[in-house]
């Protein structure tokens, strides 16, 4: 998994590629510094798949961002979308 961070003022964009699973999720979690961030965007265009460990990171980020701004998922592939749907996460994520 690779993570590319783009910070522009109070907005943070994380481009995640590869696989987000038990092995790689801690890596994403540690790269999430959200102090002062009001706009958080995950670009998932090149994400192969996400397991529950990855969802856990997204959920943590969502909980934080609900207090300080917005969070968006963009470039969601069908298989990722499917996982979000089956777990009910798509209901409270902003997906574009």
């Amino acid at each position: 998994m690779e993570i590319k961070k783009t910070k522009d003022g109070s907005s943070l964009k994380l481009t995640v590629s590869g696989r987000l699973d038990t092995l790689t999720a801690p890596q994403l979690e540690s790269s999430l510094q959200l102090e002062g961030v009001t706009e958080l965007v995950f670009d998932l265009t090149d994400l192969e798949y996400v397991s529950s460990a990855g969802l856990r990171v997204f959920l943590g980020a969502q909980k934080k961002m609900m207090l300080q701004g917005n969070m968006e998922l963009v470039g969601v592939k069908p298989i990722v979308r499917e996982v979000l749907d089956m777990t009910g996460f798509s209901a409270f994520f902003t997906i574009k």
Binding site: R19, D21, T22, L23, E48, Y49, V50, S51, S52, A53, L55, R56, L59, Q62, K63, M66, P78, I79, V83, M86, T87, G88, F89, A91, F92
Partner: protein
């Protein structure tokens, strides 16, 4: 069937009909007896009326004659004194002689007190004779109580040419004495109703005239006994009897009774027939309704006893099986079954219980259970069949039997062993497309003779060989021309290369098309079994630690690389691998874990099996998290398992030999060939 329902009430029905009949006959008897007696008496009365007329006529003639004689003698007599008239009365042997003048006043009489009385105001009896002063020549009164003399008298009168009339009066005894000779033989041949008689007697009981013979006249009257109706009347002083045997009326009554009995029997028979038919129709409708419900229930119980979820063993990659039973309207005795007998052997059987209806369905349930119990508990195939047969033959009072074909497939050896117990031999479609019929050699049907040995036969199976089992409902289906569907129509369908499910459906469709509107009369039962061969299989054991996560993923990915697995399917599998592996690593406390990856081509399927020796834990019993909660309330626990269940096509857990064995099945798309 209907008769059985009626049998218990037949005695009651007959009893009721007999009672009704007897009661009706008793009433008819009483009525007819009354009518017969009444009619007899009526006949006697009419006869007596007739005879009374004749007697009166005879008696009147005799007395009128005496009156005319008196009139003649009076013209000759100059002395009309009381004494002279008394002498005349004596001469004529009557009791009174009187003469009235043209005014109706008695001018002479044998009794002095009459003289001077005017008939106009004497009494009504006397006044009747005034008609003689006009145009009437003679007048007779019947014997009646006389107002003057105070006893019964009979008076007759004749007119006198010189005016007035001459009257003669007689006492009863006198009338009898004068008239009895005129009455002798008066009732000869007078039979009442062809049998009875009228008898005129003198007062003393002497017979004057009877119906029978003149001989009896003069004899003493014999009164008949109780067997006669007797009617007595006194006419002009003569006792007149009418006798009629009661048996005459009884005979008529009996005849009428017999006729009405016959009529009543006919009427009752028709009534019983009609009521019976109506009841029978009603009852049979009720029975049919209930029976139809019962049969429907029996049919559904029978069907539910057969394995009907396909694929029945999703994790069993070495075969592919499909079965269907299309029952006829009437519940039949077809059944099929299949199950593992040991790890690498699989039994498939099809059977047809003789007969139809509930008995066949019951026997079918028993046969199915016995076969399964023998097949799974007795190692030797032949002995298992022999034992099942013996158990079915014992306690088979109904002499029901089961034709059956039982096959056992050895997956590893690629071999089919089978025993045919009087059933149609199945078809075998070889991988190269040729269809052959298995050997027709067979033993007796199950349940016929006990302690019969059964011989198994063997044939080698190649991967993709397909075994097609069917009952005679397929080959013996008929069309409107009474032709049978037959093997010739069946074989090409088997050869057509369908999947097991496709084959069964195609055969049913063809049979339906063939039969047209002819109703299916027998169950149509089919099983298609395809041998897939031993699957491609990879297996590796990992240390259950943090590194395992990457190693297991790499192992699975490596194996999948050979299969041209589509990306999203691979992603699904890898998510599942991640979830299950991390679960085992973090929670099982097992040191090792084994991952088995199997795949089969027909149909393309991947099976992943995770085996660990850790804490016994069935993930399928774990409650799924609530996916409808908001972000704040959501916990991450359990989510992974939920995803696995949703991403895979089948998940199965087993606790086997101290190990958690979790199998995941994922179907691959058909167009991908490995």
């Amino acid at each position: 069937m209907i008769l059985n329902v009626f049998r218990p009430i037949i005695p009651k029905l007959v009893g009721a009909l007999a009672t009704a009949f007897l009661l009706a006959m008793a009433i008819t008897w009483a009525l007819f007896s009354y009518f017969a007696a009444d009619e007899s008496k009526d006949l006697m009365k009419r006869e007596l009326d007739d005879v009374a007329g004749q007697i009166e006529e005879a008696v009147n003639a005799r007395l009128i004659h005496a009156a005319m004689e008196a009139r003649e003698r009076l013209t000759e007599m100059s002395d009309h004194s009381v004494e002279a008239l008394r002498g005349l009365a004596d001469d004529l042997r009557v009791d009174e002689v009187c003469v009235a003048d043209e005014r109706g006043v008695f001018i002479a009489s044998s009794s002095a007190e009459d003289i001077g009385h005017d008939c106009h105001n004497l009494n009504a009896q006397a006044a009747e004779f005034l008609c003689l002063l006009n145009d009437v020549d003679e007048y007779a009164q019947s014997l009646q109580p006389s107002a003057i003399v105070g006893e019964d008298r009979k008076y007759v009168g004749v007119w006198r040419p010189e005016g007035g009339f001459v009257q003669v009066g007689c006492r009863e005894a006198t009338v009898r004495r004068l008239a009895q000779s005129s009455l002798t033989g008066l009732t000869h041949f007078r039979h009442i109703d062809g049998a009875g008689s009228v008898v005129i007697a003198k007062d003393a009981g002497e017979v004057l005239s009877s119906a029978l013979e003149t001989r009896s006249e003069g004899s003493v009257l014999q009164m008949p006994g109780d067997d006669h109706h007797v009617l007595k009347r006194r006419i002009e002083g003569f006792p007149v009897y009418a006798f009629l045997q009661k048996s005459v009326g009884a005979r008529r009554r009996n005849f009428m009774l017999a006729v009405s009995a016959a009529l009543m029997i006919v009427v009752l028979a028709f009534a019983a027939l009609f009521v019976g038919t109506v009841i029978a129709r009603f009852v049979s409708a009720q029975i049919e309704k209930r029976l139809a419900g019962d049969l429907e229930l029996a049919k559904s119980i029978q069907l539910s006893a057969l394995p009907s979820v396909f694929p029945p063993y999703p994790e069993e990659l070495r075969m592919d099986i499909f079965a269907r039973m299309d029952t006829a309207r009437e519940v039949g005795g077809d059944f099929y079954d299949f199950y593992h007998v040991g790890r690498d052997r699989f039994a498939v059987l099809i059977a047809d219980v003789s007969g139809k209806g509930v008995p066949a369905a019951l026997f079918m349930m028993r046969a199915k259970a016995i076969l399964k119990s023998c097949m799974t508990s007795i190692t030797s195939f032949e002995e298992a069949i022999a034992e099942a047969n013996t158990r079915l033959a014992e306690a088979n009072s109904a002499n029901v039997f089961v034709t059956s074909w039982i096959g056992v497939i050895d997956f590893n050896a690629g071999r089919l062993e089978y025993v045919n117990c009087g059933h149609n031999p199945p078809c075998l479609r070889r991988a190269n497309g040729f269809v052959e019929c298995l050997s027709k050699v067979c033993g007796p049907a199950l349940g016929v003779f006990d302690k019969v040995p059964y011989r198994k036969q063997e044939i080698a199976l190649e991967p993709q060989d397909l075994l097609y089992l069917y009952t005679d409902g397929v080959t013996e289906a008929i069309n409107r021309e009474e032709e049978m569907f037959g093997l010739n129509r069946l074989t090409p369908i088997v050869a057509a290369g369908h999947t097991p499910e496709g084959l069964c459906d195609a055969v049913k469709k063809e049979v339906d098309a063939f039969a047209g509107e002819i109703e299916q009369f027998d169950d149509i039962t089919q099983i298609a079994f395809r041998y897939r061969g031993a699957p491609e299989k990879r297996e590796r054991t990992f240390k259950a630690n943090a590194e395992a996560l990457g190693d297991v993923t790499a192992f699975v990915e490596d194996a999948l690389a050979l299969t041209q697995c589509p990306d999203d399917t691979r992603a699904r599998l890898l998510i599942a691998v991640d979830e299950i592996t991390s679960n085992i690593v973090h929670h099982s406390k097992s040191e090792d874990m084994t991952v088995v990856l199997e795949r089969a081509e027909m149909p393309p399927v991947v099976r992943l099996t995770f085996i660990d020796a850790g804490t016994k834990w069935n993930p399928l019993q774990h409650r799924d998290p609530d996916t409808s909660l908001g972000a704040e309330e959501r916990e991450i626990g359990g989510l992974g398992l939920l995803m696995v269940k949703k991403l895979m096509d089948g998940v199965r857990y087993e606790w086997r030999d101290g190990h958690n064995v979790l199998s995941l099945r994922k179907n691959l798309p058909w167009n991908i060939q490995g």
